[in-house]
Amino acid sequence: MFSKLGHGSKEFLVIRICAVLILFYTLYLAGFVVFAEEVNFNRWSAFFENPVNKILTSLFFLAFSVHTWLGTWAVASDYLTPRIFGSMGKALFIGFRALVAVIIALVLTWAIIIIW
């Protein structure tokens, strides 16, 4: 079903599925903080030692990365264009995309190293 969708439909679904994953993880983490009797180093460490939480946190960062990559593409293709910036438009777009790619790669790598 998904593979038969066009480019725009796929992107629309992926960005929303990622948003839902981000929302659920945020609520899950907020639930832990709110309902834990006390949040100290030991409890916090124990929470992230749990393999289920490791997987959920990794999924969150993956969803966050995909959401950011697609979302910033939409923003950049609105504002960083030759229509607005003339001959500089394409360079600005590519520069911005490269910067976002580097930031996402760093955040994702760092997060995976910390979690695992």
Partner: protein, 248 residues
């Protein structure tokens, strides 16, 4: 209506701040304040006030035709919000005796309040706003049930004034790629039409990242439509159809 025809005791003055630009004379656009006399015993439309302003300033240019919200010629930006001058009562938009008129945003200005609508109509053309049939013509007309016909209510009434598309930020930034609310409303008008036989092709044409999906649900289009139509809902209907259709 001429200003000279109104008795003195029945007039008050208002200031119309109007966007002026004549590419043959002006290096850049400017706002011109015109003080005009309007009657106090009745409400007039913004278009009537423009006619009075034109008596003072004959070079002032704007489009108009039917003056009753049918032809869609006099779409303009009235105090920051797009609308039809002919069906907008002056009393509704006058603020401290002043009204500001600009051309519809996002399109190239030809002169004063007149914009070049080419980009708008190019996008409309892409959605093939006409019935496409493949089967043989029936002996009489192609029939619809009253229920099927009702599906087109809220869609066929569009007068293509351009108020919606030119108030849409997604259309401002990508007027060549994003079809805009007016064209997408027309697209849904024919997708929803039970007599049309090109639904799959129409949907295929909309499945790239820009044509339809650049709509972010800002809903300026709904807020400004002078006919009270809902392009955002039409776009949402197309999207649902795209995501749920069974493709071969």
């Amino acid at each position: 209506m001429s200003a000279a025809a109104i008795p003195v005791e029945q007039i008050k003055t208002i200031t119309m701040s109007i966007y002026r630009f004549d590419p043959t004379l002006d290096k850049k656009p400017y706002m011109q304040d015109l003080v005009i006399a309007i009657p106090t015993d009745k409400d007039i439309m913004v278009l009537d006030a423009l006619h009075l302003a034109k008596e003072q300033e004959p070079s002032l240019s704007y489009r108009r035709s039917c003056r009753e919200g049918v032809c869609g010629s006099d779409g303009m930006n009235i105090n920051g919000k797009n609308g039809l001058a002919c069906v907008t009562p002056l009393s509704e938009v006058l603020k401290r005796g002043k009204i500001t008129l600009r051309p519809m945003p996002g399109l190239p200005v030809v002169r004063d309040l007149i914009v070049d609508m080419k980009q708008f109509f190019d996008q409309l053309e892409k959605v093939k706003p006409y019935l496409i049939t493949k089967s043989d013509n029936p002996d009489i007309e192609r029939m619809q049930t009253p229920e099927d016909r009702e599906e087109l209510d809220g869609l066929y009434e569009c007068i293509l004034c351009g108020c919606c598309s030119t108030s849409c930020p997604s259309f401002w930034w990508n007027p060549d790629k994003f079809l805009g609310p007016a064209a997408l409303l027309q697209s849904w008008r024919f997708i929803a039409d039970t007599r049309d036989e090109a639904t799959e092709e129409r949907l295929d044409d909309l499945e790239d990242a820009f044509s339809l999906y650049r709509c972010h649900g800002i809903m300026n289009c709904v807020s400004v439509c002078p006919k009270g139509l809902n392009p955002t809902e039409a776009i949402s209907n197309i999207r649902n159809k795209l995501l749920t259709r069974e493709k071969n």
